[in-house]
Symmetry: C2
Subunit: 260 residues, 2 copies
């Protein structure tokens, strides 16, 4: 940022280029820095850290010359969007990548399925500071106005203090009015699972097919978790890493008879 007065901010999401959550995020980021948008051309929820290697990719410039904000849509996943931005579009590494605002929660185990968070994680892998934002409201017309001041506050904190290397933030907002939000809490990912139910149906032609549905089950009563924070009116901030090594298990595994 030394040579540039304003930070360069890459904005992406997984709900697609036309999502109101993305528009809210662009609005806040425009108050902070120079904004460039590279987002999927269609919804890409729950694509996790998928990338497109067995199919072609298309990139479309949406904005016109002279527009205040440069926008691209991409036919791939959120992770593809970050890769495109860094390798093909941007002339320098952005100072920050923000993803979202997701329509729906990415707390606890959802972080691993989330396209929103995978985009932030991909930016982190590429050495870019990154934050994923999600609102606990699946509605396309969810109210993002009440969380805008907090998005700005969190973003400015990150730009000022700098995240530790290899760490990105997973920020979730409760569905509350601004005045009812209790504050911001640093949390850990709650232990939770999805109990799947496959909704079995028949095509008009008589073939069985399924929809994946499920029920979220929080198995964690800890008051230091994101689930607890959100349930109690706080904004949850979980530091997320992409070194997936279970370092604590190494010692135990080394007692096994691997080479006998």
């Amino acid at each position: 940022m030394t040579k540039h007065s304003k930070p360069l901010i890459l904005v992406t999401n997984d709900d697609g280029i036309s999502a109101p959550g993305l528009r809210a995020l662009i609005a806040v980021m425009s108050e902070i820095g120079e904004v460039i948008v590279v987002a999927p051309d269609a919804p890409q929820s729950a694509t996790g850290h998928g990338i497109t290697i067995n199919d072609t990719l298309y990139l479309n410039k949406i904005s016109k010359d002279g527009d205040l904000i440069t926008e691209y849509s991409c036919s791939g996943t959120p992770v593809d969007c970050v890769k495109f931005a860094v390798s093909e579009i941007l002339k320098r590494k952005p100072d920050l990548c923000v993803s979202g605002v997701n329509h729906g929660s990415n707390s606890s185990i959802n972080v691993i399925y989330s396209g929103t968070m995978s985009a932030a994680v991909e930016a982190g892998i590429e050495g870019i500071q990154a934050i994923g934002f999600s609102l606990l409201d699946f509605d396309w017309n969810a109210n993002f106005e009440d969380i805008k001041p907090f998005i700005k506050k969190i973003t400015l904190e990150v730009l000022e203090n700098k995240l530790p290397e290899g760490v990105v933030l997973n920020v979730n907002f409760p569905k509350l009015k601004e005045k009812d939000i209790q504050g911001i809490k640093i949390c850990r990912q709650a232990k939770a699972i999805w109990m799947e139910k496959f909704d079995k149906r028949k095509t008009p032609h008589g073939r069985d097919y399924y929809w994946l549905t499920g029920e979220f089950v929080n198995q964690d009563h800890g008051e230091d978790t994101d689930e607890w924070a959100l349930k109690n009116g706080y904004i949850s901030v979980v530091p997320v890493q992409f070194d997936m090594t279970a370092h604590h298990a190494t010692q135990q595994l080394n007692t096994w008879n691997w080479n006998e």
Copy 2:
């Protein structure tokens, strides 16, 4: 396993139901337990932890009544396959889930893009012991014979000793003859990145499109990494967790001015 003489083993992969790597894994697992296969009906490499929520899913029973091994193919991702197996197909929780053998490496940062490893991680989330196996050979006709004894050894160790809760194994095999393999090493995930290159082409109709390609860059000289082990002729075994919280960063983040 108390009431059953043989362990129930779920086999899946990301290269699809017809991949030779899957056939090799089925062959080894058949020597150890009762095997059920639920694998994608087409290649699903690099789908990460994606699941199918915006599209229909199809499940096809491939095996016939009386066949020794029951096999299903599924139109979804590797993670969808595990969810289908656990929720729709299996009458009891399997004792083990194995995924692979992947045609190509899933060491270091590849773990996060890998459909093979995401299937193993999904099983881990559902409380099932799980191992992902990958061979450092992308060839469809790769030689899996030399690694079969090691696959059996590793699987038996896991069944006997039991993995710690919340931990699955990421096993990668060097492309070597059995006699040249130096042994099995418990490792950590090496710090590495992909330097992307987008291969830009034109459709026959004149529209620009891209293929995502890239070069793997190991940035980690540690001799405790999976990259080091593989380069030196060892089989790498990395314990992998799905609590993505960067616990080490919590203290530092709590010194920031979040609520002022």
